[in-house]
Structures are given as C-alpha cells and as structure tokens.
C-alpha cells in the first residue's frame, strides 16, 4: 500500500468509513456497544496507516484550517443544541414527563462540561502562544 495515490486512498477511506458506520449502526441496533468499539478503534488505526502510505500530500495547512473551522463550528452548534435540549427536557419533565428529567440534566451538564474543557484548552493554547 506504500506509494498509493490520493484517489485510491479516498476510495479506500470512504469504504472503511462506510463499514465503520454500518457496524456502529448494527451495534447500536443490537445494543452491542463492544461491537461498535472493536470496529471504530481498528478502523481509525487502518485509516491512519493508509494515510501514511499515500505518496501525495493529503494534509496541509489549508486542510488544517478547514478542519479547525469545521470543528469550531460543530462544537459551537452542538454545545448550544445540547444545552437547549437539556433545558427543554428538564422543563418538560416538570410538566408530566418526569422520566426524561435525568436525560435533560445529563445534556445540560454535558454542555457545561464541554464549555469548561473548551475554556481550559483556550487558556492553555493562549499561554503557549503568548497570552
């Protein structure tokens, strides 16, 4: 696989990601989370190994910027969505749906934890870059 071109790599990558997705879905349907884990971890290792074997450049500063922006946007939207969902679920739990209260609190706490970790890393990288 050493010296593989980018097209071949992309085809293999898409195939592997599809299989991982399929196995995760299967694992979730069957409530077999071990199956999901044993698929994801080797899948990531295989993808990483394949990428190292590509003769062309597949990751550079522009792709890093794209990934950074996408990750930032995803974090922002998902945290807001999680926090809001948490509040809605907790509110609904006081109006007759008491069984969803724990899920609501879990969402709200998770949103807070993500924001805390984000603040921590912002502080850390700020220190590294001269703050």
């Amino acid at each position: 696989m050493i010296g593989m071109d980018k097209t071949k790599y992309n085809q293999l990558k898409n195939g592997i990601v599809f299989v991982i997705g399929l196995m995760m879905a299967f694992g979730a349907i069957r409530h077999n989370y071990v199956l999901s884990m044993v698929t994801v971890v080797p899948g990531i290792v295989v993808l990483y190994t394949l990428r190292k074997g590509v003769s062309e450049v597949v990751h550079d500063e522009r792709t890093a910027v794209i990934q950074h922006k996408a990750a930032s946007r995803t974090l922002g939207y998902m945290t807001a969505l999680m926090g809001l969902s948490g509040l809605v679920l907790v509110e609904m739990s006081f109006r007759g749906y008491s069984e969803i209260r724990d899920v609501g609190y879990a969402f709200a706490y998770m949103a807070n934890i993500i924001l805390g970790v984000y603040a921590l890393f912002t502080w850390y990288y700020g220190k590294q870059m001269g703050d």
């Binding site: 062309e56 450049v57 597949v58 550079d60 500063e61 522009r62 792709t63 910027v65």
Partner: protein, 65 residues
C-alpha cells in the same frame, strides 16, 4: 490580498500539481491561493518566494479593506 502566483507559475511553465509537489502542499491549496480564496501562512509564502526567486511583495500584494 492579491497575488501573482498564476502568472509566475505560467512563466515557469509548471502545473498546479507540480508546484504543489515542490512546496509540499495539495494541488487544491495552490488553486485556492491563486483564486484568492485562501491566504497562505507566512511559511508557505516564504517557500513560494524562495521557489520563484522573488521577494514576497513581488508575489503577494496587500490591499487594505
């Protein structure tokens, strides 16, 4: 930021792919720089200047606003 990368590349008679390989980036990055969609890092700008044997100001033109 404007740049003369496309002109300089044409003068050297090389493709985007060849330039990308010389600079260690993807062809899409060269295309994005040429079309003004992406401003390269200082490091990549220096690499371009070194490759074309030009000063950075001869490749990139800063426009205010």
């Amino acid at each position: 930021m404007e740049n003369n990368l496309r002109v300089l590349r044409a003068m050297k008679n090389i493709t985007q792919d060849q330039l990308a390989q010389e600079l260690g980036v993807t062809r899409q990055t060269i295309h994005a720089v040429e079309s003004g969609k992406y401003n390269p890092s200082l490091e990549l700008a220096f690499k371009m200047a070194e490759y074309f044997e030009k000063a950075i100001e001869e490749i990139f033109v800063y426009k205010k606003g």
